[in-house]
Structures are given as structure tokens and as C-alpha cells.
Symmetry: C2
């Protein structure tokens, strides 16, 4: 079912490149994250390899930001510069057809030359999926199963209320990354939803630090399990140091849901 | 989160074994099917290894029937004979806790000694999941994406109506298996449902031949794509020989949904 297409001429002075933006979903299970890796096992590598095949030149793809290995996307946005003389719809088809099924480009369209997938970001939304009990096998790649342990939702809600808003999130950054970045972030949304055994935690902010969402989720679950009291949250934020009270939730439950520009 | 338990005494004259039956769900993606394999990569192998660890003896697990590599289960039933002197609930917990997350035992309970997971089967239901277009990445392991090609639903319905009921299904058996079995089966249900881009085909019968469901689904899709005319179906059944008009649908869309006893 490959779409036949003529190889377009390379971009040059006569054939200027256009800026394109696209929305890309992926199942991160078998990728080493979004960002290009020496071993070439990232989503970006898969996209760039496909672009090279179509356009016969090295095209760099810029994402809205990284996602770690095992993290999924329903809303990653990227941009690239390429000369494509045919209809835009055919560019999308050509790009799609050679990608693995765990990657889906939802749309691709010409963008303003000033648009930048990373620098133009205004806000991002992540959703973390959990399961109270043991998830059905076809959901285990996309949810963190909390098993038999009881979860105190009220305590989680209370801890969440302490985290919302403008804070220094140093205590919720993985210690092996994110040094030197401004740790003050505005957590505009932190919402816990429960529907039967399925729980989701939606987090929205103008910016995220390294593994911040997984740290927040890991902490909320630790509170839900009674390992930390929710009223300890303000002191934890104040301490500005990562501690054992803030475990990281596994990557598999995390989705980059939407990027706002 | 392992459940602590005392090792039960081995079954012997003083400690007779009980027959147990259980419902098991699994994601077949990374298993070589249900049935025990020399390499030990089947679901049955995983269960038997866990039983050996708990009961310190070789316990044989009997399923309602095989499922091929890559085929999933929401309704596989098994039985086994074991002596378990504690509460039944603890047997379930002990069995569950050491299995990979892609296997979930839903329940486990004592059964009548005459119950046999395979011989007592009255009817089975399979569901095959498809996607009209390209499935979202987190559904690709559980659906067959039909891509850009248009599908004629009316033609599929017509072909399905020819297949329902009592027929010799030799034309819908994989040529490399099922020889010597009675090829006459009563297809009590063959239902195509569409909800947005998601299609499911439910098949119910008193018995299935080797790869029969995937052959029926592959054929219905070939009809939907206009490669075979639905009115050719009666002649195809009459021919009693597997032909190229009956391709096999990929394993990943198939679920053993329910076993009736």
C-alpha cells in the first residue's frame, strides 16, 4: 500500500524549503524516547530516516521537547524545513507509509517560517494513566497498575492542592538532570480523575523540568498509599531537594497529551 | 508486593488434589501462543512455571484450546489439579503475583472433578478488531489497520450472510493444519460492528478449525476491498479447498473472547 510518488527536486535557491509542522502520536514502549540517539532507536530517528528516503537529503526534525524512553505521545508536535513541490496531502502519505505502526502522523501542514516546535511552546499537557488493581493485559503498556494496595484518594487530592500553582519544583526533579534550569514553574492544572478502576492524572504547565510529571505522580501515589502525609507537601517543596519521599512513576503510564502554541 | 504464603504440602493419598478452574486474560504479542513450547515462551509455560514455584511439583494446566502466537485472550479458561490447603483466594494471589503483567488471572475457583477446560466446551466466541485507516499507536497491537483503502461494508455483510450457519469450512482452514478433523461447523454468529473508525467482527461457533477465524476475517476484508465478489462465497464454500481468495488476517487483531460451558 505504498503511495507512489516522484522524488521531488532538492531544495536550493530555485526551490526554497517551506516550514512544515506536524502532529505525531507514538507508542513509546519500544523506542528510546523522542530524541535522536547514536543507536538510532528514537522516534526522531525513525522520522528523519523516512524523510531522507523521500527527499534524498538530511532533514532535521525539531520536536516540542523530549519524551523519555517508554513515554507515549498523543500530542507531540514537530517542525521541519523541506521543499515539497506536490500537494501537501501527498507529503503526509509518503511520510506515513514507511513508518512503523507504533508511530502515526496525524496531520502535516505548511507553517509560518517563524514557527518553532520548541521555542514557540506556550503550555504543555501530560496525562498519566494508572489502574487501581491489576490492569487488563492490553492496557499494561499504557498504565501503571497499583496492585492490591488500597489508595487514599482524599489524601492524594490534598497533596495535589499543595502542588498546584507557582512553586520551586526542585524537590520534584530527577537528580540526574535539569541542573541549571530555572526550577520555578506554574502548575496550572493538576487533576485526578477516577472512573471505575482507571485513574488518570492530568498535569498542565508552562514548562516542565526533567521527569517532573513522573515525580509528581510517584509522590501522589506514595501519599495515596499512606507512605507520606499530604500535609508534609509544603515542607517538601520548601526543602528544595529530591528525597526518597518522591519516587518516580514508571514511564509506561505517561502520555504527552497536547502542546499549546 | 508478593503475598507471603506457606508452601502447602504436596498432594498425596492424605492430601488429595482438587480440580480448579480459572479465567485468564493475556496480551499475546510477546508469547508464542497458549500451548507449551520447547522454548517455554507460551502462556501455559508461564503458568506452569509459577505453579511449580508455589506447589513444588509439576502441575499440568489444560486450556480450552490453543491460541496462536500473537493472539490475545479476554476469556481463556483453564483447569488444573492441585492440593491447596489454604483459602482459595490466597491461591489466586500466589499465582497472580509472579506472572508477567501481560497475563492476568481474573478468577480461580474449585471445580467439579468432571469439569474439563477443553472437553467440556460447548461454544466459543472470538472477536477480531480492525481499524478503518491507521490505528492510534497504542491500539496497533490489538487491531488490524486497513489503511487508506476504502471498505465496502455492504459487500462484507453479504458475504457474512453466506457464511453463517452449518457449512463445510475446509476453504477457510489453514492448509498447514487441521487435517483429519470434521470440517463441518455451525457458525452461529458472525457479526460485523462499526463504531467510527473501529470495526469488530464477532464469531461464535460450537467449534473452530485451525486459523478459521483469521481466514474468515481475511476473506471478509478481501470482499470489502472488492478483490472478491460476495456472491462467490457459496461456490467458495462448495469448492472445499483453500485458495488465494481467502487470505489470513494477522494474529494481532484476534481475541478469544469467551468460552461457554
Amino acid at each position: 500500500m505504498k503511495t507512489p510518488f516522484e522524488h521531488p527536486p532538492l531544495a536550493d535557491a530555485e526551490h526554497p524549503a517551506t516550514r512544515w509542522m506536524g502532529l505525531i502520536e507514538y507508542d513509546g514502549t519500544n523506542f528510546e524516547g523522542w530524541q535522536s540517539q547514536p543507536q538510532g532507536k528514537s522516534v526522531q530517528d525513525a522520522l528523519e530516516a523516512r524523510l531522507k528516503f523521500i527527499l534524498r537529503s538530511d532533514i532535521r526534525v525539531h520536536g516540542s521537547g523530549r519524551t523519555d524512553g517508554g513515554v507515549h505521545s498523543r500530542g507531540q508536535v514537530f517542525h521541519l524545513d523541506a521543499h515539497w513541490p506536490h500537494e501537501p496531502e501527498r507529503f503526509l502519505k509518503a511520510l506515513r507509509s514507511g513508518l512503523p505502526p507504533t508511530i502515526r502522523i496525524v496531520w502535516l501542514k505548511p507553517a509560518k517560517p517563524t514557527f518553532h516546535a520548541r521555542y514557540s511552546v506556550k503550555r504543555k499537557r501530560y496525562v498519566y494513566q494508572l489502574y487501581l488493581g491489576f490492569a487488563p493485559p492490553d492496557e499494561t503498556r499504557y498504565r501503571w497498575s497499583l496492585g492490591d494496595l488500597k489508595v487514599d484518594l482524599e489524601a492524594m487530592e490534598k497533596a495535589a492542592s499543595h502542588l498546584r500553582g507557582l512553586h520551586d519544583f526542585t524537590s520534584f526533579v530527577a537528580s540526574n538532570g535539569g541542573e541549571g534550569r530555572n526550577p520555578v514553574r506554574n502548575l496550572k492544572r493538576l487533576q485526578i480523575k477516577v472512573k471505575g478502576p482507571r485513574m488518570s492524572i492530568t498535569v498542565e504547565s508552562d514548562g516542565f523540568l526533567y521527569k517532573m510529571v513522573r515525580s509528581i505522580v510517584g509522590y501522589l501515589v506514595a501519599v495515596g498509599w499512606g507512605r507520606v502525609h499530604p500535609d508534609e507537601t509544603p515542607a517538601l517543596l520548601e526543602a528544595k531537594v529530591r528525597s526518597e519521599r518522591v519516587p518516580s512513576a514508571p514511564a509506561r503510564g505517561l502520555f504527552l497529551e497536547k502542546v499549546f502554541y
